[in-house]
Amino acid sequence: MRKIYFSLAIAWVLFIYGSYNALLVFPPISSPANPPMEELYRNVFFHVPINASAFLGFTITLGASILYLRTRKLSYDLVASKAAKIAVLFTTFTLLTGMVWAKPAWGTYWNWDPRETTALIMWFVYLGYFALREAMPAGEPRARASAVLGIFGYASGIFTLLSTRIFPSLHPPTLGLELEPKMGMTLGLMITAAIIIFLNLVYLEIRLERLKEKVTRG
């Protein structure tokens, strides 16, 4: 537990320092075409890190699902489900931060932009994943079914991104985003902080589940 406190403390320090930079230190950018953007660009320091860790979470679910099917160790199933749980939570925040930004930037809260669409579909895929888990008693069959769905769902997310790519995107490019070095560094700090917080939340969820099992077993 001490390691958890320690890494969480680091993450919060990074997060607070990053937020301080993002919200108070950095000057407004020049955006003559769309004046609200002068301040609103700061959203990027929150939106991108949350999204990056959510995507990492779905990838962990995919990896743990494959490992479960190969080894049949229920601990992989636990990792897959808890990573998906926190990733769904983070995707919710991604969608919300994206929407409040999209309104002034693109005119409407929802635009069916490729990235928006992918995030939303992934969100529904993993809500379906939990619906499936809810509908089955804990144990081998549930772990197998949800692992298989976890793999299908990830593939569908990739295809959603691919299929919407044939339409033009409004979203700024993810890679090759041009930021001043200091801003880029702050973004890096925020991404690190978000990933540490994400992993810790997953770890705590797993620990909680293990303790629950221990208690019910007596």
């Binding site: 099917l69 579909i121 529904f124 895929v125 809500l127 379906g128 994943y129 619906a131 499936l132 509908a135 089955m136 069959p141 197998r144 079914a145 692992a147 298989v148 769905l149 793999i151 299908f152 769902g153 593939a155 569908s156 295809f159 959603t160 691919l162 299929s163 919407t164 044939i166």
Partner: protein
Amino acid sequence: MGLKAVFNLASKDIRAELRTKHTINFMLLFSGLAVIFFSRIAGNYVAAAPEMGAGLLWLVFLFTGMLGLGRAFVKEKELGTFDGLKLTPMSSEEILAGKAIYNLALMLGIQSIIFPLFIIFFDFPIQGSVALAFGVLTLGNLSFVIVSSALSTLVLNARARELLLPVILLPVLFPVIVTSVSALNRVLVGGEGFLNILGEIKIILAYAVVMSVIAALTFDFALEE
């Protein structure tokens, strides 16, 4: 075993279905009703904006398939022949392929009746080739049956499986349905030819291939009990 076993399984299901016609009749009735409801509710709007038509047509297939395609395995479960099916010396991929072919036959049957019915009821002005539109629909339905056959076994032992299947199936199908609707629109309304919708066709084909591979790799686990 091999291809022969796959076709034997598919033809067994098709013959059993032709004898009772339970599933196909219900699916046809349901899809016919859906077309008539859509036509009454949205017919005038589709006449003004024909781009809406392809999406509505796909919704009809989606709802019908959602209700009917899961039956391929549920039926075996209800009749108590599911264990017999697993005891046959067929590999799990062969069982999946057989069931997917049976489901495809169902969807093709529905498609050949509902597509003309849709054109008639909506008085749909067709600009492009009908054969190409039918081909695009078939390709979309192929992807649809692969994924739904594979995922329908996951819910066999779950509570409220009829409700659960659409919830897990729809988001996984989203990319292929959207692409198929876009391709269908470009053919039916835009009057575009095969080469113009090649991008969409490639995505649908790639989706079908990738999902078949995942289904074949994971179906062993999905069949276990």
